[in-house]
């Protein structure tokens, strides 16, 4: 694989990761969010596999498989189960309307480019073109967490953010050692499970997953 094509493919994959994150801002139902997240994870898996093929690195293949199992299969399934359990009241009414969200996503992308520019300028890796995009998907994930009401969509936002970090790690270091990657997976999994429990608790306590209701705890 020539460097040019490799660069193009990696940048394309990074763009798709970002676009999948942005798709959440456009979609309006939790299942669609979960699906977009699964798709985003899938694009990262593809990126890791392409990298593995280029570097002829077995560990990376393992990482990709783990990632696939966890983020494309398990987490979406678990999220779907939670969603079905929590039911239709997990209405996704964002604080910010769709066009404005999309505009903010555009601005966040520009900011990501501005922030990442020094790093990109220093780097000589052929994957550097994707770094600002990965950073942008971290931002978009944060924005989802900040702008959505339902605890469940906040989890999705968190996972999108985490995906962005994972992609950044892949692009910037050509894959961290397997053991570190495993640790990260475990962290994410743990965080995910804890949040899942929280969603159930919030749901039990307030009969909704609208995090806004937590305000009533202030007294």
């Amino acid at each position: 694989m020539s460097v040019e094509i490799f660069t193009t493919v990696m940048t394309l994959a990074s763009s798709l990761v970002l676009l999948a994150g942005i798709a959440i801002l456009w979609r309006r139902s939790l299942p669609a969010y979960i699906h977009a997240f699964a798709r985003q994870s899938f694009f990262i898996v593809v990126a890791v596999l392409v990298l593995a093929a280029r570097e002829r690195d077995r560990e990376l293949v393992l990482v990709a498989l783990l990632m696939f199992a966890l983020k494309v299969v398990f987490m979406p399934a678990a999220l779907r189960r939670v969603q079905r359990h929590v039911g239709a009241d997990a209405d996704v009414r964002p604080y910010v309307n769709t066009p404005v969200s999309l505009a903010i996503a555009g601005i966040l992308t520009l900011v990501a480019y501005a922030v990442a520019q020094p790093v990109v300028a220093l780097s000589h890796l052929p994957t550097r073109g994707g770094m600002p995009l990965a950073l942008a998907s971290v931002f978009v994930g944060l924005f989802i967490v900040a702008s959505r009401r339902s605890a469940l969509s906040q989890i999705v936002g968190f996972l999108v953010m985490e995906n962005g970090i994972a992609l950044l790690a892949v692009l910037a270091t050509y894959g961290v050692p397997l053991i570190v990657e495993l640790g990260v997976f475990l962290d994410v999994l743990l965080g995910f499970l804890v949040m899942q429990v929280f969603v159930y608790r919030i749901r039990d306590a307030f009969e909704t997953t609208d995090v806004d209701r937590l305000r009533s705890l202030r007294h």
Binding site: N97, P99, V100, L110, Y113, A114, Q117
Partner: protein
């Protein structure tokens, strides 16, 4: 010499209007003005083409107070522009003013003096505008600038009979004088370093100024001239003053006077200050973009025909200042060749706007004259009763919506190209900023098209929505002729855009650091920008369109069935069609009002009257939506609150005694003399 002929003709126009009784004096006065306009245009064109400035001086014993006229190519260009507006406006005025039905014709036949003073003021207004662009020193410039402002102010206020006119007068007076203060401060600071305040001297001296002083002068010039051009946030007077003035005066103000804001900006910032750092241009560009979007959004929602046109003027001046700001950015980045391109776009659009906005205001005036109202919701169907006005207005509407092959398109295309040229100039983030500007420009264009479909469609098409509209009559012959002139100009400037572009480029030669020979555009049969980055040939496009249409027409004529039957408008079989079934202006704009609801903050008011016996039957439903121009009003409110205490203390010295006033003058004189002695 044409310049002097122009001055003489305008002066004669003023005298004629004042001396003869209006019924007999209007036409001779108009003839004088038209002659003056032609002479001015010829004088300006000659200066632009030959590149030789012409000058004339009335010496004075006091230093700095000499009247100095010096017409360089830039001024000449604007003199042509003024001529293009004045000529039709002069032809338009007599019949328009003679009509008793024109309610906005302050100084019309029903005014107390029969409109003598108004006629003379119009002539003086035109004269002072023409002198502004010919002014060769600070004193002349400021004198004419103020003369222009005062004359137009008086024309806007008219007899001050309605609250609308008085309100417009207050807004306009406030803005114009705030602007004048800034301009005067800026120019006087510039002149302070020279002996006579002649522009030629300032040019050489301004390079020695400190950065802080230059920045301050730039800001004063931007906001001072910006207030005349109606840039946001100084746009508030435009939608008030334009509707209140008689329509030919609106045409003059919007078509010509606003452009002098651009002229002043170019003269001071480009010529006298010699350009500056890129952020100057960036600021002007940003203000331009905001003004363009602001203007077009409010124009879209407006239901008052002339206010709509006024908001659209804000939009177009925004586009013009986008070009000027971009030129400044390019100059700051050391790209004189691209700066020439951006300025070409700016000047070209200024000229085009003079043509179509003058035309549209005159069209609006004809409509107002015929129907007695400016409310779009009371119009409709006028195309059948006023075919000439409708056809001319349609040309104007298409030109302002930048549809090819008319003139608006040529200049917007240049603006697009100059924005795209910004990509390689100053780093990637700037390139993205340029991309966003391109997006904003395109949005403006699209919204302008929607706006003028609404303006033209609701005014002229479908069934009349009111009795006045149903009984409207076509304007007299002279008014029609007056509208044909700018309509022809819109078409010709569009098709012959490259030739006119050459003319415009010649006017740029007045800016010393612009070297037209290195400019990044070529104009032969078409436009060519940056070595083939963009190419169009408007004449070929026009031929292509005409050819396609003719081919389609011929083929249909030959091959298709020719049967044609006239019937009713299809309305699902309802018994009769009335104008209440038509789409209204408000309804037309509703989807966009919704889309931009967060920005425009409309208030909606729904009243349903139920049948007294059952709430399942409805007697009437009223839906009223109001969009407050909150930016203007809140800003004005804040300023008013700020100024009220100041005004209160100002009243202290305001006693009404003439003697005291003379004493003030005397005291001021003494203070200045002492200041001059001890400084």
């Amino acid at each position: 010499m044409f310049l002097l002929l122009m001055l003489a003709a305008y002066a004669a126009g003023a005298v004629t209007a004042l001396a003869l009784p209006p019924a007999r004096g209007r036409r001779p006065a108009a003839a004088c003005l038209a002659l003056g306009a032609l002479a001015g245009a010829v004088a300006g064109a000659r200066v632009v083409i030959t590149g030789q400035p012409v000058g004339w001086e009335l010496p004075s014993s006091l230093p700095g107070l000499a009247l100095l006229l010096e017409l360089d190519p830039l001024g000449g260009f604007f003199l042509c522009l003024i001529g293009l507006v004045v000529l039709p406006a002069a032809i338009y005025a007599p019949d328009y003013l003679a009509s008793p039905a024109a309610p906005d014709a302050a100084g019309g036949a029903h005014a107390a003096d029969g409109g003598r003073v108004a006629g003379a003021l119009t002539a003086l207004f035109i004269l002072s505008m023409s002198l502004v662009v010919a002014a060769g020193n600070v004193f002349t410039f400021l004198l004419c600038w103020e003369g222009m402002a005062v004359c137009s102010l008086l024309l806007v206020v008219g007899d001050g009979a309605t609250e609308e006119r008085r309100g417009a007068g207050r807004w306009y007076a406030g803005m114009a004088h705030a602007g004048f203060l800034l301009i005067a401060a800026c120019l006087l600071l510039l002149a302070a370093r020279t002996s006579g305040g002649a522009f030629a001297d300032i040019r050489g001296a301004s390079y020695g100024l400190g950065t802080g002083a230059r920045n301050a002068m730039f800001l004063m010039a931007l906001f001072g001239f910006g207030s005349k051009a109606g840039l946001v946030p100084l746009q508030g007077w435009l939608p008030r003053a334009h509707p209140a003035a008689p329509s030919h005066v609106s045409a003059l103000m919007s078509g010509a006077m606003l452009k002098l804001g651009l002229y002043g900006f170019l003269r001071v910032v480009f010529d006298l200050l010699g350009g500056g750092p890129p952020w100057w241009g960036g600021l002007a560009l940003a203000l331009g973009i905001i003004s363009a979007l602001y203007g077009v959004l409010y124009a879209l929602l407006e239901r008052d025909l002339k206010r709509l046109l006024a908001y659209s003027s804000i939009e177009n001046l925004g586009l013009i200042f986008m070009g000027a700001g971009l030129g400044l950015v390019f100059h700051g980045a050391g790209r004189g060749d691209l700066a020439a391109l951006a300025l070409l776009a700016s000047l070209f659009h200024a000229f085009n706007h003079a043509a179509f906005k003058g035309l549209l205001f005159m069209g609006a005036g004809s409509v107002v004259r015929a129907t007695g109202t400016r409310d779009l919701e009371a119009m409709g169907g006028l195309i059948k009763r006023m075919p000439w006005t409708a056809a001319c207005t349609l040309v104007g509407a298409m030109a302002i919506a930048a549809l090819p092959p008319l003139n608006g398109f040529a200049s917007e295309w240049l603006l697009f190209q100059s924005l795209m040229a910004g990509v390689g100039v100053a780093g990637p983030l700037f390139a993205v900023a340029m991309a966003m500007s391109v997006g904003a420009l395109a949005l403006t264009g699209g919204l302008a098209a929607a706006c003028f479909v609404k303006a033209f469609g609701i005014t002229f098409l479908a069934l009349p929505r009111g009795r006045a509209a149903a009984e409207a009559a076509e304007s007299p012959r002279l008014m029609r002729l007056a509208m044909l002139i700018p309509a022809a100009a819109c078409v010709l400037l569009g098709i012959l855009a490259p030739s006119f572009g050459r003319f415009t480029a010649a006017a740029l030669a007045a800016v010393p650091w612009l070297d037209p020979s290195s400019a990044s555009f070529r104009l032969d049969a078409g436009f060519e920008v940056r070595d083939g980055f963009g190419r169009i040939a408007p004449a070929v496009l026009a031929l292509l369109l005409l050819g396609s249409a003719a081919a389609a027409w011929g083929a249909v004529r030959l091959l298709a069935s020719r049967r044609r039957r006239v019937g009713e408008t299809w309305g699902c079989g309802r018994i009769g069609q009335t104008s209440r079934m038509e789409y209204t202006a408000a309804a037309f704009a509703e989807p966009l009002l919704r889309v931009f609801g967060d920005l425009l903050r409309p208030t909606r008011d729904l009243t349903i009257e139920f049948h007294p016996e059952s709430k399942y039957f409805v007697r009437s439903i009223g839906y009223r939506t109001r969009v407050r121009a909150w930016l203007e009003e809140d800003l004005a409110g804040a300023i008013r609150r700020l100024l009220r205490p100041l005004g209160g203390s100002g009243r202290l010295i305001q006693s009404g005694s003439v003697h005291l006033y003379i004493a003030y003058v005397f005291a001021a004189l003494l203070a200045f003399l002492l200041l001059a002695r001890w400084m």
